[in-house]
């Protein structure tokens, strides 16, 4: 099993953090992982994306020319990645900001109004965890527990209230993945 995922959005949405938490969690699950951030002459507020590969065996290419999954945080990212995703792939969409549906009909689409949920939770900074909760639950590639463990390892020292908020975000995102 080798699964390649693209996380894409704009700077400030926690896109790189989301991919990093996922990669660390999968590594602790005992998987092989690679995490490749986009880099370039970036600007504040510009695009941000990363590719995470999770596998049971040695990973050769950290690049995904045809990702199995995509977590899409804004409309420009949908435009860019929709055509690349593997046939019958899964796409998790931030429906608060993406105002159109994918034009391909083979994709399994999960719509998560992440910004709206985050506002209800009282912190815009949880949108990445909301999306990650939906992604993990939909794909089953790791568990919410692993993600929480990974997150705890990465942000060690953060207040319990922040961790609680993240947990809530993960759970609410997960609910959307279970809806049909």
């Amino acid at each position: 099993m080798t699964k390649k995922t693209v996380f894409a959005g704009f700077g400030g949405q926690g896109v790189l953090m989301m991919g990093y938490v996922y990669a660390v969690s999968a590594m602790r699950d005992g998987k092989e992982v690679t995490y490749l951030p986009s880099y370039g002459a970036e600007v504040r507020g510009g695009t941000a994306n990363c590719t995470v590969v999770v596998s049971d065996e040695e990973i050769f290419s950290p690049v995904a020319s045809a990702p199995d999954y995509a977590v899409i945080m804004n409309r420009p990212s949908l435009n860019r990645y929709e055509g690349m995703i593997k046939k019958d792939g899964i796409i998790v969409l931030n429906s608060s900001l993406v105002d159109r549906d994918p034009s391909r009909d083979d994709l399994d689409v999960v719509r998560v109004p992440a910004n709206d949920i985050a506002r209800k939770l009282g912190s815009d900074r949880t949108i990445n965890m909301i999306m990650l909760g939906a992604f993990v639950t939909k794909t089953g590639i790791t568990t919410l527990e692993s993600i929480m463990n990974g997150l705890t390892e990465i942000v060690k020292g953060k207040k319990a209230s922040v961790m609680k908020l993240n947990r809530k975000g993960l759970d609410m995102g997960a609910e959307y993945a279970l809806k049909k």
Binding site: T34, Y39, S61, P62
Partner: protein, 359 residues
């Protein structure tokens, strides 16, 4: 050994250097390797005896490394392609004065200022000496983040053992990528072999002189032959390469660093459709694993060299094989990273063109 952790390639070089006993880092910023300079600024500050210098230029940085090395410290500098060009004068002096040092080149697209995307266009510069004069530089080519840690340690060991500069040749991809890594234990600086040649104050002993100006041509000639004897022993001792699925192969791809990983992905794909293809990945680019290649050419009649350049290692393959096998080439220069699918297609068409399925 430490616990497994997920780390960025550039940071891994930094941590591995500190653990290898690096106590002076001097560098000048350039993308895509600034994360290494950033890491060293923090790491050196945390050490009691560490020195970090953001130099005023690449030229200054390499000469600071030269000075630290003369004084006995394990020292490192890093840059990306255009910056490495600027360091060449210093590297030539390091080689001439037989001073150990580690130089990291995170290659980007070129020539000139080029771009900041991953490339392998500096192979000639790295393996042919790069600066002026008759000398060689040890060149190590990591293909994974774990190997970055392992080869950084080795670069310091080789540099000290042979009193010569060693280069770690990576690219923007491996520098930016994160993978799991386990570090070796830090070296105990007090347990390293003494360096009876360093300039650390001549109180109570005769003075020592380190220089590269040898006006007497017979002395310079003898110095050159001495270096050659050293390079021959390096070639005997440290040459290294990885082979992958070569046992039954009819075609072997030769690639290093990031290109080797892409090639492996391609080989996995073509194996699924029954093509017998393997990989030879040089880990040391200089010394080049010539003997492995010659040995392989007894069975393998077709080699495909794949590089993220217009064909540089290709020349070492040709020099090694001296007409023993057919040598084919595929390359993408300028910062383009081929996909495994692209290489798989290339392998597939070559395989059939050469009728390798009939063997």
């Amino acid at each position: 050994m430490t616990e497994k952790q997920l780390m960025r390639g550039s940071h891994v070089i930094g941590e591995a250097a500190v653990r290898a006993g690096c106590r002076l880092y001097a560098g000048y910023p350039i993308t895509p390797q600034n994360e290494l300079t950033e890491y060293m600024s923090g790491a050196m500050a945390r050490l009691e005896d560490g020195t970090f210098i953001q130099a005023e230029s690449e030229l200054a940085a390499i000469n600071m490394v030269l000075g630290a090395s003369m004084a006995g410290a394990r020292a490192m500098t890093s840059s990306s392609s255009p910056g490495i060009s600027l360091k060449q004068e210093g590297i030539s002096y390091l080689a001439a004065q037989e001073l150990p040092a580690v130089i990291v080149n995170t290659m980007r697209g070129g020539p000139g200022l080029g771009n900041i995307a991953p490339s392998q266009g500096d192979y000639f510069q790295a393996t042919r000496g790069g600066g002026h004069g008759d000398y060689r530089v040890i060149v190590l080519a990591p293909a994974s983040v774990q190997e970055l840690a392992d080869l950084t340690r080795k670069a310091f060991e080789y540099a000290d053992k042979y009193r010569t500069p060693a280069m770690l040749l990576g690219d923007g991809m491996i520098g930016q990528m994160m993978e799991p890594v386990v570090f070796p234990e830090p070296v105990d600086l007090n347990k390293l072999p003494p360096k009876p040649w360093i300039l650390d104050g001549a109180i109570g002993r005769p003075s020592r002189i380190i220089l590269s100006l040898l006006l007497d041509t017979t002395v310079e000639e003898e110095h050159n032959w001495k270096l050659v004897r050293k390079y021959e022993s390096i070639a005997r001792d440290i040459t290294s390469a990885e082979t992958f699925m070569t046992e039954d192969a009819h075609l072997v791809v030769i690639a290093y660093g990031t290109a080797a990983r892409i090639a492996k992905g391609a080989i996995k794909r073509v194996r699924e459709i029954g093509l017998k293809v393997g990989l030879l990945r040089p880990v040391t680019l200089w010394p080049f694993p010539k003997r492995v290649l010659i040995e392989m050419s007894r069975q393998i009649k077709d080699f495909l060299v794949f590089e993220m350049s217009t064909g540089q290692m290709l020349e070492d393959v040709k020099l090694s094989l001296e007409g023993r096998s057919n040598i084919h080439f595929y390359g993408r220069p300028g910062g383009i990273v081929s996909t495994p699918d692209e290489i798989a297609k290339e392998i597939n068409s070559l395989y059939h063109r050469q009728h390798l399925e009939e063997d």
